[in-house]
């Protein structure tokens, strides 16, 4: 950051100047600097030797050092305190409290400890398994498309500098806009009656689709068009879920591109030059230089995106609320409904822990399998 560098020089100048100002008193300042350093002081006594610092010189160096360290620690922990307290009260404590609630028959308070009953109910609840399936499907159809397209566009942007900045800015816009607002806009774009997509489709003579309102699988729909009926297992993800996934890609692709570009910039251009001298072109350059050197970035985005899809809530809730016929009822939506609509606190808490176990397992698996293939320079 250039800002840091320039102001850094200024800042150093300032300190340097202050140092020469008091150079005549340096000995004294150093002598009690240890104590002065610890106490916040009014601005006007900067650099002035302090006389009011208690029992100074005769204290043996070691003891003074110890007390100085202790006071520095006290100050340090005081600085950390606000953050630690709030994180402790609103993040860490709820973790344990949530586990306690999940063991309860909770109706306006813990009526009785029922142990693992909520968990067993969750594991036997077809709705939960279906929600996990929907979540996994959503993740599977979103992550590869989003990262694949993002990578492709990032490589293209990197190669062709023309209009680079403007296009990057445009592609980044969806990421920073409010989720609810952009989800509202997309609900309208997907609207079967007068949305943009169906207006375009009808314009080119194709019947409109129901998009977010279509619970049928995309493969089943395609097959229907050519008069084939597919067996249930081959129906594919529901049209509604695919529509949500398209929205997700639209939102996050600019973020992926930004991260990918940061990785690409860090690859030494000389590597490409050397490979070109050896006759490598296009795909080979990508395959043998870009992919391996980008693997830490790809891995980072993979982990973040998978976790993101498993936590996804806001846009799904706004666009479909989990419908139609539970086609977009992800685990996160299900948990929220149990809490918000049915007031089942204990059950919702238990489901959240089950979901967390799934996310954690997935992250560890990714670490184990994909993490090993990551190449560090």
């Amino acid at each position: 950051m250039p800002g840091l560098r320039t102001s850094g020089v200024l800042g150093r100048d300032r300190v340097e100047r202050a140092r020469t100002d008091v150079s005549s008193q340096v000995g004294e300042v150093q002598a009690d600097g240890s104590a002065a350093e610890l106490a916040p002081r009014a601005p006007d006594d900067a650099g002035r030797p302090r006389q009011d610092i208690g029992p100074p010189r005769q204290i043996p160096g070691l003891r003074r050092l110890v007390s100085r360290k202790a006071r520095e620690r006290a100050l340090g922990y005081t600085l950390l305190a606000p953050a630690i307290i709030i994180v402790g009260v609103f993040e860490l404590f709820p973790l344990f409290y949530g586990f306690y609630i999940s063991l309860c028959d909770w109706r306006l308070g813990c009526q009785s400890i029922i142990g693992a009953e909520n968990y067993l109910r969750g594991l036997q609840d077809p709705a939960m398994w279906y929600a996990l399936l929907v979540t996994a499907t959503y993740s599977l159809i979103t992550v590869p498309v989003q990262l694949g397209l993002g990578f492709l566009i990032a490589v293209m942007l990197f190669q062709r500098a023309r209009g680079h900045e403007l296009f990057r800015t445009m592609m980044f816009l969806p990421y920073i806009t409010s989720t609810v607002a952009s989800a509202a806009v997309w609900s309208y774009i997907y609207s079967p009656d007068n949305g943009l997509l169906n207006t375009i489709l009808r314009g080119i003579g194709v019947p409109g689709l129901r998009w977010l309102g279509e619970p049928a699988g995309v493969f089943a729909l395609m097959a229907q068009n050519v008069g084939v009926t597919l067996p249930g297992w081959a129906h594919g993800p529901s049209m509604a879920l695919v529509s949500v996934s398209i929205y997700t890609t639209w939102v996050f692709i600019g973020y992926d591109i930004t991260i990918f570009l940061a990785g690409l910039v860090n690859i030494n251009a000389e590597l490409y030059e050397a490979a070109k001298v050896d006759g490598a072109r296009g795909w080979n350059l990508l395959r043998h230089i870009t992919f391996p050197l980008m693997s830490p970035t790809i891995f980072f985005l993979l982990v973040v995106t998978v976790i993101g899809t498993f936590k996804a809530f806001n846009h799904i809730f706004v666009m479909t609320g989990g419908g139609p016929s539970d086609a977009t009822q992800t685990a996160s939506i299900l948990i929220f409904q149990q809490l918000y609509a049915f007031n089942r606190y204990g059950y919702a808490a238990a489901l959240a822990f089950i979901l967390f176990t799934v996310i954690l397992t997935l992250t560890l698996l990714q670490n184990h399998f994909a993490g090993r293939r990551v190449v560090y320079e």
Binding site: P40, P82, F90, S178, T179, A269, Y272
Partner: protein
């Protein structure tokens, strides 16, 4: 894991850094193809915004009849500026403050986002300084603990947090909307990275001058870190503005809603009046867009350093 992105962002570019452009590629078929794909992708990114804005200026009749461009030269309509005010009045009235509900939502969003930005800047600056520059036993443990909370899905703590809000009598109050979000772990992480780049000599020089940690923080670190602080402030604003799930859960009265929740409720209730819905959405999005254009660089650096959304 998060370190990877952060490191990439903070590592200086290697000296030989013009992008490896192929000479003359602009004329080749591949070059043209790439340019076309990029332009198309950029257009697809902004089309929903244009669609939102154009719809917000249409009459209801044009919306129903799927007229994409009802104005000059293709049609005879005039832009319906009145849609925005109509959206405001359609949302409803807040008897508590005696204003239109939309303005109450807006005020709530500004109050909540403002407090969260200020609070998280203060807590993050103090904590990040202690983590980056002070010799504290156990700070590594603390840091790891804090990072763990970052990995936890919101679902895990949302039930107990809601129960706590009832017990504290913070349900349906500003306290409930604000206090649990006063610390942003991302901000601590980002500022710590930044503070660690400030040369140690500077602190030692300040120490010789008799400055303490607090004075050093206030008079050297904070002024030096203005770009980073601006980034953190902006990101927290975006996240607070974007918040939806928690505000929806922790409030009951319409007078306590923030813009996001208000928009969702409007969509549920009067969503068929699409031109008004789009006007409402535009009024939620536009402030953020303006902020983004004013401080693009900060945004991107912050995103690179922290990663996730919300």
């Amino acid at each position: 894991m998060i370190g990877t992105a952060a490191e990439q962002a903070t590592t200086a570019r290697p000296p030989s850094q013009p992008a490896p452009t192929k000479e003359g590629a602009g004329l080749s078929v591949g070059g043209v193809l790439i340019q076309v794909v990029i332009v198309l992708a950029a257009l697809m990114a902004v089309t929903p915004f244009l669609y939102m804005l154009t719809t917000a200026f249409k009459t209801y009749a044009s919306v129903i009849n799927n007229v994409i461009w009802p104005w000059f030269p293709l049609g005879r309509e005039v832009p319906q500026l009145g849609n925005f005010w109509e959206a405001v009045t359609t949302v409803g009235w807040d008897p508590q403050w005696g204003v239109y509900l939309f303005f109450r939502y807006l005020a709530n969003s500004l109050i909540v986002a403002g407090c969260i930005v200020a609070g998280s800047l203060i807590t993050a600056t103090l904590a990040a300084y202690a983590l980056a520059r002070m010799d504290l036993p156990g700070k590594q443990v603390l840091f790891v603990l804090v990072l763990i909370t970052m990995m936890m899905p919101e679902d895990l703590t949302i039930v107990p947090k809601l129960v706590m809000m009832f017990n504290l009598r913070w349900y349906n109050t500003y306290l409930g909307l604000i206090v649990p979000s006063l610390v942003s772990v991302f901000s601590i992480f980002l500022l710590r990275q930044f503070f660690m780049q400030i040369p140690r000599d500077l602190f030692e020089a300040a120490l010789i001058d008799g400055m303490g940690h607090l004075r050093f923080l206030a008079s050297v670190v904070v002024p030096l870190s203005k770009p980073a602080l601006l980034t953190v402030g902006l990101l927290n604003f975006i996240w607070a503005w974007d918040a939806f799930k928690w505000p929806l859960l922790v409030t009951r009265d319409s007078s306590m809603r923030v813009l996001g929740v208000g928009l969702q409720q409007f969509m549920q209730g009067q969503g068929t009046q699409v031109h008004l819905l789009m006007a409402f959405a535009a009024m939620v999005i536009v402030p953020v867009l303006i902020l983004y254009f004013l401080a693009q660089k900060q945004f991107r650096e912050g995103i690179l350093n922290t990663g996730l959304k919300g």
